[in-house]
Symmetry: C2
């Protein structure tokens, strides 16, 4: 059943939870979300199957646990993003600030590479992608958007926010799935370049 599990706080408990979460990310990355059984998971984690049920009610519960852990870590990033002076973009000064924020974002993503490639990979969890988009959208709306748009919400404004959130996440995902990987600095430069264009502009560095 999907009852809520109270997470124990004992060195043994933390150890078991970590073993399970690590094995989970590994298996999702290799076989996808429903490409393995709980039995497979506990064997890889070197944890008794009964122990799994002591911590999590189901695979979905463990998934939720992993995703929440990640999303909680985003809040620091959000504060930095909130400082971007969107209305004054285009000057050399603001662009270099945006660049530094993008570097932070890509660095953060790189640090969570295993989890992200697994959960956002070809057999990952589509709702995790939605949650990330929602988080980014909310951040953009609450912290960056001009007062006038925030108060006077129209479909256009919402789609505008969704448009850029999806675009940026899309680039991040392309980057993650690319084995010959650019550095966070290179990606920030690329992204600043692309975002300053509008559709149809010539592509130049």
């Amino acid at each position: 059943m999907s009852r809520t599990i109270e997470r124990k706080d004992d060195r043994r408990s933390r150890r078991s939870r970590k073993m399970l979460a690590d094995a989970f990310v590994e298996l999702v990355g290799e076989r996808g979300l429903d490409g393995f059984s709980i039995t497979d998971l506990t064997e890889l984690a070197n944890v008794n199957r009964g122990t799994f049920y002591g911590h999590f009610s189901s695979k979905e519960d463990l998934l939720e646990y992993c995703e929440s852990e990640f999303l909680n870590g985003i809040s620091e990033l959000e504060e930095r993003i909130a400082q971007v002076p969107v209305t004054e973009l285009g000057t050399e000064e603001t662009d270099s600030f945006v660049h530094s924020v993008f570097v932070e974002i890509f660095t953060f993503v790189e640090e969570h590479e295993a989890l992200l490639t697994a959960l956002l990979g070809p057999k990952g969890d589509i709702s995790f992608e939605h949650r990330i988009i929602d988080t980014v959208c909310t951040t953009l709306i609450d912290k960056i958007l001009n007062e006038q748009y925030r108060v006077n919400r129209t479909p256009l404004v919402d789609y505008y926010v969704g448009y850029y959130s999806s675009a940026i996440l899309g680039v991040v995902l392309m980057w993650l799935n690319n084995e010959s990987r650019e550095t966070p600095e290179e990606m920030a430069t690329i992204l600043v370049g692309i975002a300053s264009l509008s559709l149809g502009d010539p592509i130049v560095l």
Copy 2:
């Protein structure tokens, strides 16, 4: 096992396949990809469980079948998209042409609403999203992009294409998940408006 199934072409066969595909879309939409068993599926489809295995080797095989059916239908759209004069965007004439192509895209999406909301919804198939992005990217690269970028591929060009593909698909998904739904015409107007902006430009209709 995942051996290939030769699809029979008999009135009875086509009927069974359709019943199974329809029930599949319905169940994926309601409970997500692994929220139901094959037994559930065949009961809803009013088809014997053995019949399922006569047509499909697994749930994933049926999923692949549904996705392919949809992706094959995109080719007409691709030809229209290929006619967009990207290098000359910005004029009133070209913008109205782009508008009409967007209307076609949103209309096409609306016609496949059930399948798309199910497979791209919160418990859908993330790899389907990737396949659509890939298809759109390939179309953009092969047909729209200037000769100079097509030949002289750089990471920037690839990310550029991915950026816009993700952005547009993101807007389409927002639209699908929005119950108070704009018309395809309204969406085309919105999208043309957004795409002509660059990040930081004031939002105006």
